[in-house]
Symmetry: none
Subunit: 223 residues, 2 copies
DNA sequence: CTTGAATATGAGTAAAATCATGATCGCGGA
DNA sequence: TCCGCGATCATGATTTTACTCATATTCAAG
């Protein structure tokens, strides 16, 4: 099960959050200030699946810890912000946080955010990680089990689009709109052609994951 | 696709937000003050999937609109707050808002929040009690006790419709009107066929909850 | 309270309509 | 010329509709 680190200087809050997270099956790790949080993260980096950071903490504050962590890892981060603080939410996103929760917060909502974030990042593993399909946007290259697959522009864009939201269904119109452009006029079934070619090129993986949703469109199925 | 209502008295802001939302495939509805917002919501209640409310508006202010909407519906609500305002976030949560964004905001962030919120609410368990049946509109997926049930379009739409108002009876005509379209011509008892297949596919749950109201139509029984 | 006519619904089947696929072809730009 | 792209078409698959007949329900008359 996933391990979550929570950093907050208030012991009560830490306990509250930990209790709820443990309740739904997560392991937790606690830090009571920014310095400890970062130290702990460095030590357990490979084990930690998600980080929750309070902003106002002794030592490094939450934003700073977040930036430091970001320098090392893409682990998902949720920030806790006290309502009275003059906080600049934007800064949070700039520092690389994935989500934030304002105090006072309902633990249930926090748990839901944690779950949503884990779900999202775990299914995005293909994009960064060591799974079977990797995207290298810079090089415009796709690799399946390390082997490069030569995709044409349209194929590449369609695959990329579907990969942006694994599980979500895209209608042919949506794909045409976002890849071809709003002003595209032409046969809607063109999408089918490209999907077919993608499936061929991606072989087994393509057949397994590129799903047709009858009467709706296509989606990339999560596994 | 989801429809989103945005209420703000500044035309520029409305346009900005609408453009971004449309860009990622949402439909939008605009209101320029609190009164119009509430009126519009009442009228299109069933179609609106999410509401974005500015706080400072002529007529009813954002908090008030939110409360009024909450009296009718659980639709997700995002509040827009000017950062300079002395605002009490708690009031926002008390009035039932699900999230808020402070101005000036980046449209991208707003879009992300919208998506996060829709994801959260749309895949949430439908009926308060047991968590056995879940709808994921994005993925066009229905799960019963976690296991996916493959439904055809019509089946899916009928189930969704009935689920919108558990306990309420829908006549065959109403279902035909809202799912097939008012101009449908054909056998009214087609509905029966689909209900029958739904019951089969949903097994025990279907037989228990999909009730026939003799002489009237069908309903989804609450438990 | 029972019966039976009238009506409504369920189950099953088969036909019809719709949709997706994969193969193929021609166009046009690199 | 080659290659990416869009279009078309035959084919098969899936979904939707229509229809039949058995069963269930209602309601009023006996």
């Amino acid at each position: 099960m996933s391990k979550i680190m929570i950093a907050d200087d208030e012991q009560k809050i830490r306990k509250l959050v930990c209790d709820f997270l443990k309740n739904v099956g997560y392991e937790t790790l606690e830090a009571e200030d920014g310095d400890e949080a970062f130290a702990l993260f460095q030590k357990h980096e490979d084990d930690i699946d998600l980080v929750i950071l309070d902003i106002m903490m002794p030592g490094l504050n939450g934003w700073e810890v977040c930036k430091e962590i970001r320098a090392l890892s893409d682990v998902p981060v949720i920030m806790l912000t006290a309502r009275s603080e003059e906080f600049d939410e934007l800064l949070g996103y700039e520092s690389g946080a994935d989500d934030y929760v304002t105090k006072p917060f309902s633990p249930t909502i926090l748990v839901k955010k944690v779950e949503a974030l884990l779900r999202r990042t775990k299914s995005a593993a293909y994009l960064g990680g060591e799974k079977d399909l990797t995207f290298n946007h810079e090089a415009h290259e796709v690799r399946l089990n390390g082997q490069e697959i030569e995709l044409t522009l349209k194929e590449y864009n369609i695959l990329k689009k579907l990969l942006e939201n694994p599980g979500r269904v895209y209608s042919r119109e949506q794909l045409l709109d976002s890849i071809w452009g709003y002003d595209y006029v032409g046969d809607i079934r063109t999408v089918d052609s490209h999907i077919a070619r993608l499936r061929t090129k991606l072989g087994d993986w393509g057949n397994r994951r590129l799903k047709t949703v009858y009467g709706i469109g296509y989606k990339l199925e999560e596994e």
